[in-house]
């Protein structure tokens, strides 16, 4: 598997994302609500990081901080050593819903990224073709979103997020709306795509199996206010076969620990 789509794997020791002492508090007239409390986190180049946690623990907020869509109340968030101040162009975002434009076909939806950024047209078109091929969307280029299943729509959303070769791909429950079987298939594909592109990925998920199968490291968060309970290494290598991984002792051990932590945080609730 030498077919790396882009050679962005610069060998620096500097993490792609650095988060130090991050706090986020929402204030209303009557009350203050702490969404994230004292988060410290580094994400390395080419790493796949999963964030698991109960609903409402601020996992999505953490992604929005990295994207520059939500501002930190206190603390630091940096992307490639730069302070994150406003919406960042060097990220790719995939939401739970595919959020496609219904008047554009598959290709048009993917190329929206290029049009908005003013990318070179020929280059963007070539890149779109590669991604369409890689994500198994070949033959569906001219289909419209309402003609596609949820899984296919999410593939389009993934292509759109990868078109500009972002420094980091942020995925917020991307497969949460899919049925279990489609979700498994999408996990297998995402693993392959991650290997082929070498992109740094931060994935927020409710599914323990998904979190552990895909990640190099799993961050487990507590219920509100969101804090990091534990960060677990997943010593599984970078070529993972789904069925074999499910029975791998390391997978079973890490999954059990993640479940335990999530369960503990539930009883504390």
């Amino acid at each position: 598997m030498t077919a790396l789509l882009h050679e962005k794997r610069v060998t620096t020791t500097q993490p792609v994302v650095t988060i130090e002492n991050l706090n986020i508090t929402y204030s209303t007239k009557r009350s203050r609500m702490t969404a994230l409390d004292g988060i410290n986190l580094n994400v390395e180049q080419g790493e796949f990081l999963s964030i698991a946690g109960p609903s409402g623990c601020g996992k999505s907020t953490l992604l929005k901080v990295v994207a520059g869509l939500t501002a930190a109340t206190s603390g630091q968030a940096q992307l490639r050593g730069q302070q994150i101040k406003g919406p960042r162009r060097d990220i790719g975002y995939v939401f739970q819903r595919a959020a496609l434009l219904e008047w554009r076909n598959v290709r048009g939806n993917i190329l929206l990224q290029a049009e908005m950024r003013g990318m070179d047209k020929a280059k963007a078109a070539r890149r779109a073709d590669e991604l369409i091929e890689m994500t198994g969307l070949g033959g569906f280029e001219k289909s419209f979103p309402h003609e596609l299943s949820g899984g296919m729509q999410q593939r389009v959303s993934l292509c759109r997020a990868l078109l500009h070769e972002p420094d980091v791909l942020l995925m917020d429950e991307p497969f949460g709306a899919l049925d279990a079987l489609t979700r498994e298939r999408m996990n297998i594909e995402l693993h392959r795509i991650w290997r082929e592109t070498g992109t740094t990925v931060i994935l927020v998920t409710h599914s323990v199996a998904e979190a552990v199968f895909l990640a190099n490291r799993v961050v487990v968060m507590s219920a509100r206010p969101g804090t990091i309970l534990e960060t677990l290494d997943v010593p599984l290598g970078s070529h993972r076969d789904y069925a074999a991984t499910m029975e791998d002792p390391d997978f079973v051990r890490v999954s059990a620990r993640v479940r335990e932590l999530l369960g503990a945080s539930h009883t504390a609730e």
Binding site: M1, A67, G68, L69, P87, R88, R89, I91, Y93, F95, R97, A99, L101, E102, W103, L112, Q113, E115, M116, R117, G136, F144, H146, E147, L148, S149, G151, M152, T182, R185, M186, I188, E189, R192, H239, D241
Partner: protein
Amino acid sequence: MPSTVSDARAVSVQSERQSPDMDPRPRKNNFLAKWAAEFWRPVAFVFALVLLWWLVTAQKWVAPFILPSPQDTLRALSENGTYLAQHTGVTTLETVLGFVIAILLGELVAVLMVYSRSLEKTMYPIILFAQVIPKIAIAPLFVVWLGFGLEPKIWVAVLMAFFPIVVSGMAGLRSVDPEILELTSTMGANPFKTFLKVRLPASLPQLFSGLKVAATLAVTGAVVGEFVGANEGLGYVILQANGNIDTAMLFAALIIMSLLGILLFAIIQIAEWFLVPWQASRRTGGASTNG
């Protein structure tokens, strides 16, 4: 190992492809049959009404000056062809100009109010106030201000058509998925590009439902303007015919007026098919599962 991955891929693509019978596009040879299936009911209903009308007048249950027969109405239409055509032209011009101005003004105001909260707070009550006043009561004022030419009729038409366009335009612009807007902000797009490529197209389905209401109101507006003070147009024809107790002519003018409204409505509908094809295909898809 690579082969198992590509197998899984092929399988997943296959299973996620929708079955062909869910394809919403109608086949070409079905086109006429589809139209017939769609429109036989209204056509049959109108036919039945005309038949009833003919029966009532033929049996002389009602005096001709109260209800003219279909034949008399048809004769009034054909014998006064040039006269009616000339006045229809005037009303059409007023309606179309009023409608176009209402679209431009209405969409402009909708965009401004969606982008500026303070402007919305300032203008919306005034617009609502202008909508609540009966247009027929404003029409004489327009005549005083603008004279007896085309202008007052055009502006009554604008006033009538404006409100639904503003409301539907605003609702449409607000209907954009907020996640798409977050996405475009991470794409570094400027607000104008986002408006042109995301907000405006997303607003079209709602805007068009407002345009359809506005199109029929524009005709009413033009005629109301003519009632108040005019020496040409279908409103004037109606007043004249009324004065002469020429009910056949009155009916003829009424029929032309409703045809004008229907024609304008149809033009909007066709424009919608071209500009909002994704909406149209969805609707046909829904209809075919019902029928």
